[in-house]
Amino acid sequence: MDKVTGEALYTDDLTLPGMIFGATLRSPHPHARIKRVRWKSASAPDGAICITSGDIPGPNGVQLLDDSWPVLADKIVHHIGEPVALTAAATREAAQRALQAIEIEYEPLPPALSWEEAEQLEPLYTLSLNHGDIQQAFTQADSIFEEEYRTGHQEQLYIECQGMIAWFDDDGMLKIIGSMQCPYYVQKALMHTLQIPEDKISVKPAAVGGAFGGKEDFPSLLAIHAALLARHSGHPVKMVYDRHEDLMVTPKRHPSRIRHRTGVSKEGRLLAMEIKIDLDGGAFQTLSPVVLSRAVLHATGPYRCPNVQIFGRVLRTHTVPNAAFRGFGAPQVHFAVERMIDHVARALKMNPFDIRKINVVHPEDRLATGQVLDESTSAHLVLEEVEKITKFRRRWRSMERARARRQGDEPMRGIGLSLSFHGAGFTGLGEHRMRSPATVRLTADGRMEVLTAQTEMGQGCSTILPQIAAAAAGLRLEDVIAHEPDTAVVPDSGPTVASRTTMIVGGTVERAARELRDRVIHWAQEHLGTGPDLEIRDSEVRGPKGSVSPFRDIGRACYEQGGPREVTLHHEPPAWQEFDESTYRGVAYATYGWAAHVIEVDIDPDTLEPRPLKATGVAEVGRVIHPTMCKGQFEGGTLQAIGYALTEEMKMKQGKYLNDRLTTYIIPTMKDSPKMEVTFLDRPWQGGAFGAKGIGELPMNGAAPAVIQAIENATGIIPVALPSTPERLYRWMMEGRTTGED
């Protein structure tokens, strides 16, 4: 409620006594040697300070998977906008003016900016996956299809820009408050670079105005910058980017170039898929290896194919590093594989529904990793359901006919279908390694409190985690509260990413809440003499003979009289989840979410501008714990994917984004958004909290390919890249990339 009244405090809404402001000097070159740095303090505003890489006490790198991402450029700059020096002064304006007092001499070096130039450099990361025998399978295929697909940068465009405040309190404790998804990532990065021990740092998210992956890694860099300035100046330092700076320098979704070679039988059954994935990683590794991993593991789509060979690379370019964005590598490969399936269908004169139906995975089928799918596999169910709701099959066919008969500038209308899946939680052994803890404890007034590092950024975890604890312990929601994720207090339950919060952290919270309840009951038996058969429902503790007492009374007594107060448990990954990270064989994800999208579009016959009219989604994400929030996640993700498909594009020149303003980077407005209808198949999964799987990223995977197929259905143009802007559609039409029937 405090968000609708304007009371919620985001980073930029906070002020501290004595607070000053930081600013960043950035490289104007994509690649250059730094020959000299000079701080002309005489020409800077009064009291302004300046920091360069020489002022960093520890390693000059942001600790993430490795620490190769520099905090401040040292000898070489690797992309336009790379931070080279920092200033701080009494006001935002003064800090900006202070930047002009820094003089830097650069010697430009040749940059790698295209796929071709990037191929000349050592890749940042590579990965491969083999299943069956593709050579053999290609010789047996009735037809073989080849195509190359490309996708561009996508910007998270959370409405609240990146921001961070750092200060040292009287005890010398470094305090950080800011806009972030992963407070413990920030803490670890600060320990590494500032050489400050863990117990001397407290990191806390403020209210977070959207993230979508964009506040997973970058906040660590910004927190280090603010902390360095705070240390140097002795003042609290606020650094908040404006939209222009945020767009120019923060990580985006990786552009991709994906080559598919697919062999099928004459009925359209997949026999062999050879998939080569290139991701543009930008200048530094950041999270790219993990993004590539997800791309590889989702590359075949939710389809069964006995012979698969996937080869993935992250190439290095002299541009801003690319990193996490909702879907994390999966949207790119879903676009490619869905387009390839459409391509095959068209060649074999099949309906897009029929080809999916004969290839879709079922329980007992194997994925390319060799993982045998269990009964929580619902790809075939969501496909049938979306057909039932939309009558896609018939309507696609009739729109194909309408296209063939279309005259002059009659409206063009199309409908498209896609199928997608998303592995829930961290890939492979990620969760095994972390076995992240979560804590549930009693408060002095006898309520239950949930302690996790999970960050509320609009996705609802501060509601859902207490809801899970309440349900597990038999309490009403008002008797359970969530502690804010302050690293000085909460356990490291892992980052708020990868759709892991509800399923993984929620599962641990569920067990911990149950255990605390049992221990409190046990204590009551021994110390209050209540007898063994207590039952807790709706926050009421009932004795076997019908007596009733509020849980709070027993909880308070337990707290006061030294009974059990707190339970911390670790996530227990299923024992059967085995994954070999060297061969990429085994169970990459304990379970998957499944979705089908059907989207209808109108195309302006003069401008070729697509307008989405209606999006229907059917998803299976286990049990739906909070229907309003689940639906909201699905609708929001679907619209982001529609933006990805149609308008969102970073144009680049000489390594610089051209549309680095909101005026030129176009996301969907309310007028561009279709009517949406979302249905969830409620199929509780035995491994998650109350049967829930993750939902956040799933809708991002399927909506773009569905819109694109609808465009093809409407116009006969065959898009092979995202976004499919009117200019690109026109070009493909002129190049004759069409169904050829018009």
């Binding site: 609708v4 820009c161 959207g210 609009g458 309003t628 929001g636 619209l639 309310m670 949406m676």
Partner: protein, 151 residues
Amino acid sequence: MKIDFVLNGRKVSAEGDPMDRLLDLLREKFKLTGTKEGCGEGECGACTVLLDGEPVLSCLVPIFQCQGREVMTVEGVAADPEAQAFLERFVQEGGVQCGACTPGIIVTGWKLSQNKARLRRGEIKNALAGNLCRCTGYEAIVRALERESPS
């Protein structure tokens, strides 16, 4: 320059450069941080406030334009007893996720739904086309406004 205006129903005055942004005046001088900056260039609508009852983008309004006029921010709407049911509907329908776009959408939506028995989809979409929301996909916002019924 000194400007006098009515802010959320109260007479106030402030000193400033006439070309200062209304957004900064509200946030910094009056500590009304409910109004957010999303872009600073009139594209996102996060900074929307009502000026004499009409939605304006406070990042584009120089303060001299407010002389003698009435400014209403999200805090003003939230203090209005008549707005309570309206605000709650936003929460119930899931029209609020991260909340960064919300203040702008609340003031625009509140203005739109006053004196109206029922809002049509098209009408809502036209009125709110300038308020970007990256989280909700807008559907929940439309639902919250559509449910507005005669008071």
